[in-house]
């Protein structure tokens, strides 16, 4: 019963946010195009033959970076910026006195944006295959479904991490500057610039204890068919969600006590 009601709320939120996102389709297309860092990285890796040092073929590497692009497209999170703006402008106030946590609104916004992004990401992939026909492959259904699940879990981890930082808006107005601290590890340790396998083994052992390699590296390896520990990776993703969710709830609960409803 309760889950039905929440589902109905989420479904309506999704529908409304999707309509809203369609108003910004050009902007979203540009965002999709701007997420082509993995392709630049692929170019750097292949022109310098860096992949030879980690025993990954050109084809597997190009598939990895294409998958990294896809995972990134469907796990990109900006909740801290939206929440910070809404908080400063006083827009959070009406949401706070509605019987639905405001973060569901942001969650729906992100999901709706991903749906809007999907066709643009497919077009970019189409052009990628035109220029790299040897990289074309069709993952089996099981792997595809697991990859979708893993990408969604990656999105949830990032959404929770940023939501925790967003809640710091209750203490400091500029929580997004704290988010910048996450930018460097996310960029270097997530697998966006290089597969984590390319790191020295003593670094790798530490990296795998953080949530970062499960944001892009793991789902991208899974989808591209590279060797990876599927069960271990999924378990780590779920573990991080279970660790981050109570932390978010606690910070949210403490933060709302600090809320001063400024700007409203």
């Amino acid at each position: 019963m309760i889950s039905n009601l929440i589902n109905r709320k989420i479904l309506t939120l999704l529908k409304v946010q999707y309509s809203n996102m369609l108003e910004y389709r050009v902007e979203i297309a540009l965002w999709a195009i701007s997420g082509v860092i993995p392709f630049f990285m692929l170019n750097i890796w292949t022109t310098n033959n860096l992949n030879e040092s980690i025993n990954i073929s050109d084809i597997l590497l190009s598939r990895y970076f294409l998958c990294a692009f896809f995972v990134r497209q469907f796990s990109v999170v900006w909740v801290v910026f939206s929440f910070e703006e809404d908080s400063l402008m006083g827009k959070v106030s009406p949401y706070l006195i509605q019987p639905l946590n405001p973060f569901f609104r942001y969650l729906a916004q992100h999901l709706a944006e991903q749906i809007t992004r999907f066709p643009f990401a497919l077009i970019i992939a189409f052009f990628f295959f035109i220029f790299n026909p040897e990289s074309i492959w069709i993952p089996n259904l099981g792997i595809l479904l697991l990859s979708i699940l893993s990408t969604f879990l990656s999105f949830l981890i990032q959404f929770l991490m940023q939501s925790i930082i967003a809640c710091l808006c209750f203490w400091t107005e500029k929580a997004s500057s704290i988010e910048r601290l996450l930018f460097i590890p996310t960029l270097f340790l997530s697998g966006l610039l290089a597969p984590v396998v390319s790191f020295p083994s003593y670094v790798k052992s530490w990296i795998y204890l953080t949530p970062f390699p499960y944001l892009i590296d793991f789902p991208a390896n899974l989808l591209s068919g590279n060797e990876t520990n599927i069960i271990g990776g999924l378990c780590m993703q779920i573990l991080w969600i279970f660790l981050l969710f109570p932390l978010f709830k606690k910070i949210w609960s403490e933060g709302t006590k600090k809320y001063t409803a400024m700007g409203s």
Partner: protein, 331 residues
């Protein structure tokens, strides 16, 4: 009038605020060693509000009336004291409490900017667990009361301020709340829109017996809607009671302009012991205490040849203005 729906006891609220001296020196000092102090913005406030009452909160800018409203609806946490609204502690924001209240802040909107208001209404309806049929019925009823129809299908960004405010009201009232917290709801609206909004609120209160707590700087909002006012001065209540009693207390005399048939009559009246404010030819303005108006007018009409007579109420803004700068009104 029903039982108490809002019960506030010894409520206080403090905020930490940092101050900065001007100039580069002040900036560096502020950067290196920020000084914050606790500012008590609400001081030991107590009051009760009954079901169905419309209460106006009056006060100068920064007096604390909006902060009280924010605490009543559970938006901010009180530092001291207790609040009970409809049997709930507002700050816990229990679902049943939230379904029973609404907060409308002038100029602050919850409508989705790029979509028509109707989309926001259906979204709110689902948040408040209303099915589509019920939502449609309520939207129709509210839009009828507010006289807005085709505009509901136009993106919010293209609506006028008045149309947006009406849409905001529908979004905020779709769940038929029992308690309305309105923070300057007529801010920025033109005279007609203000009047329509007041008419709507009166009608809503009459039809649903909803309790309305209202802050406004437009005295017309207060005088036409509220029988009771709570005046807030520097975070404390300076007056809590009937508006007409406050007005009588603040303006105990009325000015009466009397047009006599001749200047001789005016001179006679001037010398008859009344408190004369001024006299120009056959027109004379006298001040009479509220409690002796009837008898004084009877005397004047019986003893002098009067052509016309005007009773001037002192401007309400002027009268209320006195409340905003005074600490205590003991009536």
């Amino acid at each position: 009038m029903g039982q108490n729906i809002i019960d506030v006891r010894n409520l206080s609220k403090s905020f930490d605020v940092s101050s900065k001296e001007p100039g580069l020196k002040g900036t560096i000092k502020h950067f290196l060693r920020r000084q914050t102090k606790s500012l008590k913005v609400i001081k030991d406030v107590s009051f009760e509000i009954k079901q169905g009452e419309i209460v106006g909160f009056l006060g100068a800018n920064g007096a604390g009336k909006t902060t009280i409203l924010k605490m009543l609806c559970g938006l901010i946490y009180p530092s001291e004291g207790s609040i009970l609204v409809s049997g709930y502690l507002p700050f816990r924001r229990k679902e049943n409490f939230l379904k029973n209240i609404t907060l409308i802040m002038g100029q602050k909107q919850q409508l989705i900017w790029d979509l028509p208001p109707i989309e926001s209404f259906y979204l709110n309806a689902s948040i408040y667990d209303l099915d589509k049929f019920e939502a449609k019925k309520r939207i129709k009823k509210l839009s009828g009361m507010l006289e807005i129809d085709e505009e509901l299908f136009i993106p919010v960004r293209k609506l006028s301020l008045g149309q947006r405010m009406k849409s905001e009201l529908i979004a905020a009232l779709i769940h038929e709340p029992n308690i309305l917290f309105l923070d300057e709801p007529t801010l920025g609206l033109d005279i007609n829109a203000q009047r329509n909004l007041r008419k709507f609120l009166q009608k809503y209160n009459k039809e649903t017996n909803a309790t309305i707590c209202l802050t406004s700087h437009y005295m017309k909002d207060i005088t036409s809607l509220c029988k009771r006012v709570i005046c807030v001065h520097e975070g404390a209540i300076s007056y809590d009671g009937k508006l007409d009693l406050l007005l009588k207390k603040l303006s105990p005399v009325k000015e009466i302009l009397i047009v006599c048939r001749s200047e001789e009559d005016a001179i006679k009246l001037e010398n008859s012991g009344f408190n004369v404010k001024n006299k120009i030819k056959n027109e004379i303005t006298i001040k009479i205490e509220n409690n002796s108006i009837t008898s004084s007018l009877k005397t004047i009409l019986n003893n002098f040849d009067i052509e016309d007579l005007f009773i001037n109420e002192p401007p309400i803004d002027e009268v209320i203005g006195k409340v905003l700068i005074k600490k205590d009104y003991d009536i």
